[in-house]
Symmetry: C2
Subunit: 457 residues, 2 copies
Amino acid sequence: MTISSAIDALVPLLGDRLARSKSELDHHGGSESYFPLTPPDAVAYPVSTQEVAAIVRICADHKCPVIGWGAGTSLEGHGLAINGGISVDFARMNRVLEINPEDMDIRVQPGISREALNDELRATGLFFPVDPGANASLGGMASTRASGTTTVRYGSMRDNVMGLEVVLADGRIIRTGGRARKSAAGYDLTRLFVGAEGTLGLITELTLRLHGQPAAVSSAVCAFDSIDGAVASVIEAIQLGVPVARIELVDAATAAAVNAYSGMDFPEKPHLLLEFHGSDSAVQEQAETVGEIVVDHGGDGFRWSTLPEDRNRLWKMRHDAYRAILASRPGARAIVTDACVPISKLAEAIAETRADIDRTGLTAPILGHVGDGNFHAILMIDESNAAEVDAAKALSGRLAERALRLAGTVTGEHGVGYGKLDYMQAEHGEGWAVMTQIKKALDPDGIMNPGKVIRRN
Amino acid sequence: MTISSAIDALVPLLGDRLARSKSELDHHGGSESYFPLTPPDAVAYPVSTQEVAAIVRICADHKCPVIGWGAGTSLEGHGLAINGGISVDFARMNRVLEINPEDMDIRVQPGISREALNDELRATGLFFPVDPGANASLGGMASTRASGTTTVRYGSMRDNVMGLEVVLADGRIIRTGGRARKSAAGYDLTRLFVGAEGTLGLITELTLRLHGQPAAVSSAVCAFDSIDGAVASVIEAIQLGVPVARIELVDAATAAAVNAYSGMDFPEKPHLLLEFHGSDSAVQEQAETVGEIVVDHGGDGFRWSTLPEDRNRLWKMRHDAYRAILASRPGARAIVTDACVPISKLAEAIAETRADIDRTGLTAPILGHVGDGNFHAILMIDESNAAEVDAAKALSGRLAERALRLAGTVTGEHGVGYGKLDYMQAEHGEGWAVMTQIKKALDPDGIMNPGKVIRRN
C-alpha cells in the first residue's frame, strides 16, 4: 500500500503531530457543503517549511496524495481526500513573520486566519482587505483565489498576493514574486499558484499587499421594489467610477431570513448594502452620488451613516446571511452557486435564475457581490430527499451554463475543487488541456490534491 | 536546413505577405537598445488568428524559431531573432473587434497601438490607462507585462488584461480568462501568458479592462534641492493613500536635457511631476494634500493646474525625456536600467546608483515611476568606445544586484528578453527551473522566441 508505507515513514518525522484518530480524520474529510465524507488516512501538523518539504518528499517517494488544509471553509470540496492520503493542516504555521509598514506589505504563514491577521494589523493603520465572509486561512484564500465583499474596490487574492513560498510536488522549495510593487522578470508564478488549489504545490508563506485604513468610512443601505432597480443602480455607480468599497445585493428572501436570525427589521425587499472609504469629504461625496443614483432607479429610504455601530451591524448581518438562510430551514444543507458575469448581463442572469428557481419550487435566496457581477443562489436541500437534491444539482448546472452563455464564469470566487470540475471543459475548452499539461509538468505522479481542478489520470 | 524548409512551406500560405528584403529583415532584427543586429530569415504578416496558427504549425513541423513583433519598442531585445527564424509582425492585425462600454471592456487584435486604441475610445468616455511612454502595440505590452506612468493608480498589463486568445507552439488556439471581472475557475493562464514574452505562444487577441475618463484632471510639478526630499514626498503620499494617477521623478540631469530638447525652463534640480484624477473636489483635495507634503520635504514652488495645455506640455516633456537624454549626446546609444524596489528602499537605491554612476564617470540621467519604486538610469554610451560600454554593462550589473539586495527586481517593466537573462537565476533561484519546466511542457522543441526568458537548451 503506497499510502500506508508513506504513513510509516511520516511517523518518525512527526510523532504525535501525525494524527489518525477518527474524529481528526472525519474533520478533515468533511466540508460545509453537500459532499460526502471523504477522510484522509492521516493528518499532518507541520511547524515549518522544511517539515512540509520533508512530508511532501516522503509522499512523493510513496506516490501518496497530499492535500492542504486551512480553515476548512471551502464550499467546493477543495480539502476532501477523495483518493485518501495525507491532509497537511497548517494550523501550527499561523504566524506573522515580518511587517513592513512603510511598504505596506506583510509576510505570513499560510495558517493565519483573516481575522487574526487584521487583529495583528490594527495598531499599524493598515489592513488586509480581502474578505470572503468566512474566517478562512490566508493559505486557503490564496489557493482558491478568494475574493468577497471588498473586491470591487481592493481586488481579490490575485491582486493582493505579492509573493509566495511554495513546496513543490518533489519537495523543492521555491519563492515567487517579491516585495517590489511590480516586476516584469519572467513568468508570473505567483499568479499561477494563486488559484491552483494546492494541485501544483503547497503554499508555505505569503507576502501580502496591505492598504491604509481609510480616514473615514460610511455605510449605506437602500431597499428596492425590484432587483432590476438595485442592479441598474450598481451598474451606474460602477460606470460613473464611484470607488465604492463594498456594494452588496441581498434579495427579499435573504432580508426575511436575516430579520428572523439577527433580529433586524429590514423591509422584505431587495436591498443594496454599501460602504464608502476615503477622506471625510470623499466619503460624503460618494454617498451623495450613490444616493442620487438609487433614487433614479426606484430605491427607497437610502440611509447612510458614519457611525461604526451602524456599519458593524450591517456587515455582521451580511456575513451572517449564509447562516441565517441555513437556519431558515432547520436540518437543510446548501448548494451555493457562484456565477459571475459581465455587469451588463447581471440583471438578466439574476432574473433568469430567479425564474428558474421559482419553476423548480426550491427555496433559494440570492445574494452577491454585485459590483463584480458575482452572485450566489443558496439552494436549500433536504439531503434525504433525492428528488430535491437532483433538482438542485440540475438547477446549479443550468446556472453554470447560463453564466457561460452570458460571457461569464462558473465560479467567481469559490473555486473549482471537486464541485465545479464538470464545467471546466465548457468554460476553458482547450485551455483546460493546457492546465493539464502544466499539472503534469509540475506534478507528474499526480500526488498534489488529486482530482481537483484537473481530472485525475 | 529547418528554417529554409519552413520558409518554402510558408510562401504558398502567405505570398507577398512573407517579406525577405534586406530592409525588412534588418528592421526586424534591430532594436532601440545596444544589441547587435540579429535579423530573422523572413517576416510574416498574418491577417487572422487562423493564419497565425498555420504559420506556427509549419514552423513547428520544421522546428523553425517563431518570434512575435509588435511596434519594435522593446528595450531588452525581445524581438531579436538570435537563432534566426520567422518574425511574425502583427501590423495587419490591428483592429478593435468589440467594445462593451457598459462593462468597460474591449477586445482588440495585438497589433493595435496604445495611441490608436485610445483614439478609438475617445468618444466613449473610457480610456485604457497603461502608458509605457513609447507607442507600443498592445500585444507587445501584454507580452512584456508593460506598465508605466499611470501604474501607481491603474495597475500594469497584469491588472488590465482580462483575457487572451493565444496560438500555442503546436498551433492550437486557446482562449484564457474572459469578460467576468473575476473568476476562480482554475489556473490563471491569462497571467501566465502576460509577461511570457512570446516564449509560450503568440497572443492573437486581447480583452482589456477600460476605465472611465476622470471628470477632472489636474497636474502638478515641484522642484527639490535633493532627490531624497522628492522620494520622501512620494513615500508619504503613497502611505497616506492619496490616489495619485501619476507620480514621476526626473533628476537634475534629465531636467537639463529636456530644457535643451523641448525648450522648457525647469530649474536644473530634481522634480516630481504629478497628475490627479477624480471629481473636481477630489482632484483639488489630492493636490492640496500633496502640496502640503512636498513643502514638508523641502519642495519648492509646487504649481498645480487644471489646464489641459499645462498638463499636455508636462507629459509631452516626460514622454520626450528619453529622446531628450539621447539628444544630449549626439550619436550615443543608451543602456536603460530598470530596477524596482520596495518604496522604503527607493531613496537608498537611487543614492547608491547616483554615487556609482559618478564614480564611473558615465553620463546617466535618472528618472522613474517612483510611486511604484521603479526607476531608470539612462546610461549613455559611445558604442565605439569599448571601455565605456564595458563600464556601463558593469554598472548595470551592479544595479541589478543592488535591486535584489534591497528586496526588489532586476526589471520593473522592461522585461527579461535577451538583456536580463543573466540575472534570472539570481532573482528566482529554483523558481527559474520551474519556469523552464513550464516552457518545456508547452514548447518542447523550443521554437517560441528561443533564448528569451528561458535559456535555450
